[in-house]
């Protein structure tokens, strides 16, 4: 009887140890899924902001007038990160400009690649390796008519049980000729993290 008990206890301990080991598994997830790994700025926030801002801009009556017969040329200045986190705001502007471009309503000039373009044109004009009649000449590019710029701000609060973060993203469209802000909108995101008690 005692022997049996000892054997059972040992086997039970082994099962208990083996059953609950931490096994890490790698798998592909859904890139469009709602992501709530932690409270910091994440992929869902980026997708929400980019989606809402693009929708709002494309739906506004002002943009309807601006894009009636022509496709205005935009450049994205930058999104100022005023939050306490490190956030790659270029990624937000990339998403917004890609969506706007794909809507077929706007055209963009990319100020982040000016140096590379200049280098290429200089190569075509001055290196002597490119057929002069086919080389792209300087001074033929088109300038932007509108500037897209904005801010990302956050308010973070927490106590011992709960943390709360509020993001506010503001985006504006300025007419470079007149200096008028033609369109502006803001979107808000609230995320909370609470300690959960074990529930069955």
């Amino acid at each position: 009887m005692n022997k049996l008990l000892v054997t059972a206890t040992i086997s039970l301990a082994l099962i208990a140890l083996g059953g609950c080991t931490n096994k890490s598994v790698v798998r592909y997830g859904d890139a469009t899924a709602v992501e709530t790994t932690d409270i910091n700025f994440g992929s869902t926030d980026l997708q929400t902001i980019a989606g809402q801002m693009t929708d709002s801009l494309l739906l506004s009556p002002v943009v309807g007038t601006l894009t009636a017969n022509t496709r205005p040329i935009l450049f994205v200045e930058s999104i100022k990160n005023k939050t306490s986190e490190h956030i790659d705001t270029e990624s937000i502007t990339d998403s917004i400009s890609t969506k706007l471009l794909r809507s077929g309503k706007f055209r963009f000039v990319d100020m982040a690649r000016v140096a590379a373009v200049q280098e290429q044109l200089e190569f075509q004009q001055n290196s002597g390796m490119v057929d002069a009649s086919k080389a792209v000449a300087f001074g033929q590019q088109v300038g932007a008519q509108y500037m897209l710029y904005g801010n990302l701000a956050s308010i973070v609060k927490s106590n011992k049980d709960k943390s709360d973060v509020y993001y506010k993203f503001t985006l504006r469209l300025m007419d470079l000729k007149s200096g008028l802000v033609e369109w502006a909108d803001e979107t808000e995101i609230r995320k909370t993290k609470e300690k959960m008690f074990i529930s069955w």
Partner: protein, 149 residues
């Protein structure tokens, strides 16, 4: 008498069964309610799909409206809660062209939405390109990882 003698053994057996089933990772419930492909201004009531009866008893799609705005298809979706507690939901729109081909496959993100008890809330979405002819939508609860003990 022999039963009492064997009681510790029986308990051990029960415990071991308990431990064998412990820490099992169960995939979350990701079914919900949604619509079939709907064209512009099409009546939606006959084209709704219920894949999750539990969610359908707590929530229903009260209105789907669509219109063309600045050449782009805009959709309004009204969700009504028939449940007294808050629901953590997410919704997704999908867009199709006139031949029924999906536009920007896998790029339409799930958007999260908190619906308070008995609340009706309307969300809106805009087609990404002007050549969208039909759309479909889906609503489900935010899936959480379940552990079975």
């Amino acid at each position: 008498m022999s039963f009492i003698k064997n009681l510790p053994l029986l308990l051990l057996l029960l415990l071991s069964v308990f431990f064998i089933s412990a820490c099992k990772n169960v995939p979350p419930v990701t079914s919900g309610i949604g619509s079939e492909k709907l064209a512009l201004e099409q009546k939606y009531s006959k084209h709704l799909q219920v894949h999750n009866k539990e969610l359908a008893s707590q929530l229903h799609i009260s209105e789907i409206k669509s219109r063309k705005q600045n050449d782009l298809l805009q959709v309004n979706l009204s969700l009504t809660s028939t449940y007294k507690k808050s629901l953590q939901l997410q919704y997704q729109f999908q867009w199709f062209d006139k031949d029924g081909f999906v536009i920007e496959a896998g790029k339409s993100p799930w958007q999260s939405l908190e619906l308070h008890g008995m609340q009706t809330q309307t969300v809106s979405s805009l087609a990404p390109t002007p050549n969208v002819a039909t759309f479909s939508l889906y609503v489900r609860k935010v899936p959480e990882k379940y552990f079975k003990y």
